[in-house]
Symmetry: C2
Subunit: 783 residues, 2 copies
């Protein structure tokens, strides 16, 4: 995808349209000429501009010259001219051509300059058909997509033109374009216009016809009607955008949002999105760059999606590959109810995931719709297995889970119960926390130094904070296995668990953790050694959890020991932290793993719960009521599974092709100290980030920054909280958030804050050029 | 969409390909000729067939004649010939043309006859471009879609041909076609083949080129390679289909399924779906019609989706409109994180739903991913509102809900707790039912008589069963308001509630019901008067629920009284029962309503929880932690919301246009007795079904049938259970289910069973011809 920071061309008074042809030679330039001639009489207050971004063919024939010859008082411009009358990507071979992003910026600049001049209409003509390749080989409709100009489609009136016109319309639609009108020449023999009129009318698109040939004096009522409609549609679009915050404020009950004191100004209007950026409606409220706002300034601006849309975004917004994949699944299946049935996408995804995790324990895939429901399934699985082995009657006694403080597994009440009581979940009337939650040592960088910080209450047992030469060193678990700290961890964990079970009589049914980073809890970066130790102690000490003298009969190594280990990789899995699984950081094989978010690359909800065969067998019985009682209407829906197959495969291919090599090299070179060997596995260095190590180090010295870390696509900045405490109620990060929202150079950044933590998250496809712009903004704000 | 019962042409040895052209005049027939000439030498054991379903132009030019002239030993056929060399839909004007379904059946029959002859290849050539209209005006790719033949696409080598070829490919893809190879002529000037080769290679599709002009003696290595690949792809496809049940059995953990004793034979392979039918892989295990299975018989057969894919299916599988809508949203947005943002589809859907429900109480829309999570939100909403008004500390005391026996609200643990304890949910370790559940009188027809049956334990209070002249009469709540039964209902309900609160000290936070039909509980059809009475008694007696002398300060009529009333319309809403809302049957305005399933017309998961302003205000506070703590990653994802807008609007338009008039007339005429006026509202008769009243009446006399009912798209048949009891453990319905699976005349029926209840569910678009076939099968099985 083309990465760019142009705004989707929209102005209050000026308007720009992209003229696409259903095919080559359908009369685009004739239509443009007719439009240009008609505008001055129909809309006399409008200026007139014509832009041919890329032109092929002899200079004399150039469309912009043709236009300026026939339409008076028009400004015309051609940005790139190639002599060969062939497709631009061939013509460009013989001439140096700037990259797509530069072409886009040049168009954007031209249109914005024109828009400053007052009310007017700009026609931006394309070359060939909608999907003819541009000069660098990108399909034209992909190349111009970031601008997402409203489209006037010139249909094909010839034999076969119905097919060509509708196909062109579909290709534009799946790229998120709005076709505002279709023009086609009348052909009394083929009568395509008759068919197309009915067809497009049903789609809410009007068809306008032109007599053929369009000689002088021919009536152009149709063109006048088109011009009127374009004007009305523009007005309606702008009015609608203007009214959206008010109307959303009226009707939408936002997730996780306290509406008290909220006003429409707190809502951001998102007109579309592409690659890493939203196109957001500028408002005086949330933009300082638009102080001089006037009718000619752009209404939409690119806004970096700094939360990766709640950690889901992976392959870029508006990804045409995923769009086509989803449409194919919709067209081939719709939805197929899943109980007792199998379809290709669900089977392929299941096999792909079991293979991808490289965890010999995992054998079965259960589908649900989101992380919360997938974790509910994991809880049902784990508790049944444990209750079965230990002979507990869970309807009479409480079986609890072991977790970490600050954990979060979703908002359905069952999995809220897996998190420790807090001011938050205690407000949910049916919340009943059932577990014990360990506090844990955390990883961070401060003033250029990586360290493990030990919580105050644990210092008596674990000692004080420990410094490390690099992030890699912290992840070198093999080297750290025999350290003093590791011994302390194990002893602390064992003592605590012994006490909970033997003295306090608790019954535990599972260990449930988010490996490495606890996201919603505030980007809490756990010392991987602590998590690894927790699992080791549990697995190696089955007698903690039962009085039986022989609790764990000799069994295959893929069976769970002591307690089923559940990894909630909803956020951390599938390359979010730079690796395919978060489990691989811990060199541990969990018994149950839950994936969602990046699973579908940032398109639709889907979740998988992978489990071992032994967990699966815990539900085996001649009685139907012993089965795992779970299933949603759209379980394993073909669209979601298809998109997931495409996403996971794409990311695995990126890994195989070394797509992130530049990033990992940055972390490798600077992070590895003399004499220290970086933790590597077959796939390359274990620890890297899309955010540069230099940025992390520099920001760690900033006056406002308490600590910072980056891992994979995640950058987390903990700000000093003068009111103390940090946590969710803190407002320390809101100043930085505001500065990012204000932005600079025509773009800004959407970010999310968790108390005094501001994090940014890239897509796995984010390009270094994009991220360095964001880094620039961060440096400006903090240094 | 074209409704048809043809199989998707697939045979073990014979193969059929559809030759589509990227445009007209790209050389489809030349390619077909070359293929036909090449096949005998490359694949000498294969027979050769050529089918031109629809041909336009003078008879002499007809492609089938052309082919037979150049390729020897070939069987050719043209089904419909029109003389005018124009698009078939124009040519057909002058000649009588059979409907699309007949054309499809003729093609299917021809191909099947050929396939009987042994190994061979059939080429099915199309006319014009992929979306050129067929003789009845349907786009060709839509017309032939039920066959879903693998496609050989002939690309366009001319100027603009890159665009035309890729657009054509995209139009085929979004209709669920598999393009198995692309052929294009080499043009050294435009070099489309070079670009297209790279492009299609990335999609996993190989491009084959032909020299131009393809004179005698030109090398056809490329064609030989294509033929080899087609053969291999066919083998792989069949092998994969053959292996899918085994592999699914190995990897998939099915929802709601006891895997004990399950074998691969219990799994149905679904290759694709279209309109009301799946295309299922035939197997000796689940098909009796294929006893004489041999290599020439069809592998796939149309299977009516009798559970409407778990009650989700509304607008037909593989609906091209929904596919394009979903792709547009994917292309325009991808996903947009929703907290603090607004985008067009989410806002439009919220406004549409608030408007559509015609419930003045509902003002706010909360989005989640499925019925279960939407109900969790409803529970959180209702309990907070009640606990707030009554001053309960819900962390210390148990607040319960009032519900109905047999209710079901999803599988997340929180909403499982809203259902009464049973052998099922008690197996879930964390299940803790929190409520009181009323048993209730049920509607059914038996031996031609509609009646309300009173549960045994309630007879002392409510009297014995009551007969009614028609289903409409049961729904005439105005007439029934003052009946003896209504008085008994109210008195029984009030006494019961008084006892629970005053004597047993229970605290209630909500009434939660599935209006009219409790689906998962076994298609329990509640007497609407009982549900209406329950709500009336609760709302009119706020003092039951609190000791306060002034429990309900004077307040607007849109405020809740006594308890928030929650309607779970996940299954029953949005026309599933023939009306836009199930609430309208009860002439009641709930305070909270949950919709899902049909919301997206049978494509992707999405759920909305609509609530009153007063419920919303219960979360208003200066503290963030008082907000409604709920949100999923893909909350209000643009794809789901866009599809939902399209689905809901389509269904509302169907209602407005009287699409179901034929069905409602059937129920109106026969159901309304002399002197009784049917319950009507502005939109027409209140009570009707897509299943004929005659069928319901006739089956109600069947020896095996205990009772039956139909409402909207739902038909529910309760079978006599000789082992007694009925319920989930019954196997009484499995005999009928087997007979439907066996099918007849080349199609069969997928159905789901709930204990001794077998139900069938139509789409809202199901056509009378389709359903009458299914009715025929039911009559054959039961009468």
């Amino acid at each position: 995808m083309i990465s760019s920071f142009v705004g989707s061309g929209l102005w209050r008074t000026a308007r720009a349209y992209q003229i696409y042809g259903a095919n080559t030679n359908v009369g685009k330039t004739v239509v443009s000429t007719i439009l240009c001639k008609a505008i001055p009489s129909r809309q006399p207050d409008e200026k007139l501009w014509f832009l041919k971004p890329v032109s092929t063919g002899p200079l004399d024939d150039a469309d912009d010259r043709h236009i300026s010859r026939y339409a008076k008082g028009i400004s015309t411009r051609c940005l790139y001219q190639f002599d060969d009358p062939v497709s631009p990507h061939l013509a460009a071979r013989t001439k140096l051509c700037p990259p797509d992003s530069e072409i886009l910026e040049a168009i954007s600049k031209t249109l914005n300059n024109w828009a400053q001049q007052g009310p007017g209409i700009a026609l931006v003509e394309t070359a060939g058909g909608v999907l003819s390749p541009g000069p660098n080989g990108s399909l034209q409709a992909d190349l111009y997509r970031p601008l997402r100009l409203p489209v006037v489609l010139v249909g094909d009136s010839r034999l076969g033109g119905v097919s060509a016109s509708i196909s062109a319309y579909e290709s534009l639609s799946i790229r998120g374009y709005d076709v505002e009108g279709v023009i086609v020449f009348e052909d009394q023999y083929y009568q395509n216009h008759g068919y197309l009129r009915d067809f497009f009318h049903k789609k809410g698109v009007q068809l306008y016809t032109l007599p053929q040939p369009p000689g002088k004096g021919s009536r152009h009522d149709s063109i006048a009607a088109l011009l009127d409609e374009l004007k009305i549609k523009h007005q309606l679009r702008v009015e609608r955008l203007d009214s959206m915050t008010t109307r959303a404020h009226e009707t939408i009950w936002y997730p996780f949002t306290q509406h008290h004191g909220m006003t429409p100004k707190n809502i951001t209007v998102i007109d579309s999105a592409h690659d890493d950026c939203f196109q957001t409606l500028k408002s005086d409220a949330n933009s300082t760059i638009d102080q001089t706002s006037h009718a000619g300034s752009e209404l939409l601006q690119p806004t970096f999606d700094g939360s990766a849309s709640w950690w889901t975004q992976g392959l870029g917004h508006g990804n045409p590959e995923l769009a086509l994949t989803s449409a194919y699944a919709a067209g081939r299946y719709g939805h197929v109810m899943f109980a007792g049935n199998i379809h290709e996408p669900a089977l392929t995804l299941a096999e792909l995931l079991l293979d991808a995790t490289q965890n010999p324990r995992l054998k079965k895939v259960f589908y649900t719709d989101n992380g919360s429901t997938g974790m509910e399934v994991a809880v049902k699985m784990a508790l049944r297995a444990a209750a079965g082995r230990y002979g507990w009657d869970a309807s009479a006694e409480t079986v609890s889970i072991i977790g970490l403080k600050g954990s979060y597994h979703g908002d359905t009440i069952g999995v809220m119960d897996c998190s420790e009581p807090s001011t938050y979940n205690k407000r949910v009337e049916w919340y009943r926390g059932r577990g014990y939650w360990f506090d844990f040592p955390k990883v961070q960088m401060s003033k250029g130094i990586w360290s493990i910080t030990i919580p105050e209450e644990m210092k008596a047992s674990l000692g004080s904070d420990v410094e490390f030469p690099s992030l890699s060193a912290i992840f070198n678990l093999q080297a750290r296995q025999d350290s003093k700290l590791a011994q302390k961890y194990r002893s602390y964990i064992k003592t605590t668990l012994d006490d909970l079970v033997a003295k306090q009589g608790m019954k535990f049914g599972a260990l449930i953790i988010e490996p490495i980073i606890l996201g919603a809890g505030g980007m809490l970066f756990s010392d991987p050694l602590f998590q690894q130790s927790l699992i080791q102690v549990i697995r190696e000490n089955p007698r903690i959890f039962t009085q039986s003298s022989n609790p764990s009969p000799s069994s295959p190594s893929t069976n769970w020991s002591s307690l089923p280990i559940v990894f909630d990789e909803v956020f951390t899995g599938l390359y979010r932290l730079g690796r395919r699984t978060a489990a691989s950081f811990l060199q541990t094989h969990p018994d149950i793993v839950v994936n969602a978010k990046l699973l579908t690359g940032g398109l639709v909800p889907l979740c998988t719960t992978l489990a071992s065969n032994e967990i699966f067998q815990a539900f085996d019985s001649p009685h139907k009521h012993d089965a795992l009682l779970h299933g949603h209407s759209y379980t394993a829906n073909a669209l979601g599974c298809s998109v997931a197959v495409s996403s996971v495969r794409t990311m695995m291919d990126m890994e195989d092709s070394g797509y992130w090599r530049g990033y990992s090299r940055d972390w490798d070179e600077q992070g590895t100290q003399q004499g220290e060997s970086p933790v590597v596995d077959a796939g390359g260095p274990a620890v890297w980030s899309t955010w540069s190590q230099g940025l992390v180090r520099d920001l760690s010295f900033a006056a406002e920054v308490e600590s910072i870390f980056a891992l994979g696509t995640v950058l987390s900045i903990t700000l000093k909280d003068s009111q103390g405490g940090g946590g969710y109620t803190s407002t320390a990060a809101s100043g930085l958030q505001k500065q990012l929202t204000a932005g600079q150079n025509g773009f800004n950044v959407h970010s999310r804050v968790l108390g005094n933590v501001l994090y940014l998250m890239a897509s796995v496809t984010s390009k270094a050029e994009t991220l360095s712009r964001i880094e620039g903004l961060l440096r400006k704000a903090l240094l």
